[in-house]
Amino acid sequence: MGGILARVYVTPKRGILDPQGKAVQHSLHVLGFGEVADVRVGKYIEMQLRDVAGDAAMARVRQMCERLLANGVIEDFRVELGEGRS
């Protein structure tokens, strides 16, 4: 059966220091990409889910984010659901 593909985007909260983004921006400038005004580096997580219906899935994935995938103190997350590979 074709399951569900969940896409999770975890990004540093606004206002929270993102040292990684800062360092990447610096290197891009050194490489001559001066047009880069700001960089934020986060996580992108793809999950294949089996045996779950779409509506239930959303709630489950949000739980996964709160309990493991994202750190609510310093990170925000966003979830998208799509057609999974079978």
Binding site: P19, Q20, A23, V24, S27, V30, L31, V41
Partner: protein
């Protein structure tokens, strides 16, 4: 001989590499600044351990684009010796001077320990003073030392005997329990096709004194001395190496 140790922003074991080559081996050793392009005529350039650019984005990703790497590439193409230790190994892979890549340890946590590695071939300037099959006890300390490569690449480096070190147990057996980071085929170090560029996760420069970490690292550093002695300092010809006994 003359060693050069590159200092990237966030290099940490650069001072240890300088101590090992200068104070312990008694060679000439100079720091090389990442913003330079010139290697100041060194025979062997060391990319030291550490967290260049904080390991942000990917280990070695940002160091690979610094000016000094142009010098390193030219040096390597001319047959000069390049030794990448830990973060230096990661940088050489990122720069495409070595095959494969290093990713997060399977445990996902940093590991500091003394491990046993087996010398897989003495047919490199870095191991010509060792016996193939010889066991060395060396420190490791890394969070991203899991060596990965696609099957084709792995098969290739296997057949060309370019896997230079493997993690083993104390008895020299290649077993999963002896693998500290999940590296494919227990790979601890590999060299390029020209055999003049070596990268390894363990730290030979931290095993050069009885009092601090043992002396097995000298087996590797002395091999480099030996090779440079035979090939004349400064000379730039692809290494032709007689296999050890």
């Amino acid at each position: 001989m003359r060693w050069g140790v590159i200092v990237f922003p966030g290099s940490l074991d650069d001072r240890d590499a300088l101590r090992a080559t200068e104070r312990v081996l008694g060679d000439e050793a100079v720091p090389l600044w990442h913003k330079d392009r010139d290697l100041h005529g060194v025979d062997c350039v060391v990319l030291p351990g550490g967290f260049s650019y904080g390991d942000y984005l990917r280990c070695g990703a940002m160091a690979k684009v610094s000016p000094i790497m142009e010098g390193v590439r030219a040096h390597a193409d001319a047959g000069g010796l390049v030794l990448g230790i830990c973060n230096g190994f990661q940088i050489l892979c990122e720069a495409g001077l070595l095959p494969g890549a290093l990713v997060r340890n399977r445990s996902l946590s940093f590991v500091c320990d003394i491990v046993t590695v087996r010398v897989e071939t003495s047919d490199t300037p870095f191991t010509m003073g060792c016996r193939a099959g010889e066991l060395l006890n060396l420190p490791i300390k890394h969070g991203e030392g899991c060596y990965v490569a696609d099957e084709k690449t792995l098969a290739e480096i296997e057949s060309e005997r370019r896997i230079v070190f493997r993690y083993t147990d104390r008895g020299g057996r290649v077993v999963p329990e002896a693998n500290p980071n999940g590296a494919l085929a227990n790979v601890a170090g590999v060299c390029n096709a020209g055999r003049n560029v070596l990268g390894l996760m363990p730290h030979p420069e931290h095993a050069v004194e009885r009092l601090t970490g043992g002396e097995d690292g000298l087996r590797i550093l002395r091999s480099v001395q030996l090779w440079c002695g035979q090939h004349g300092a400064g000379e730039r010809s692809a290494p032709t190496v007689v296999s050890g006994p």
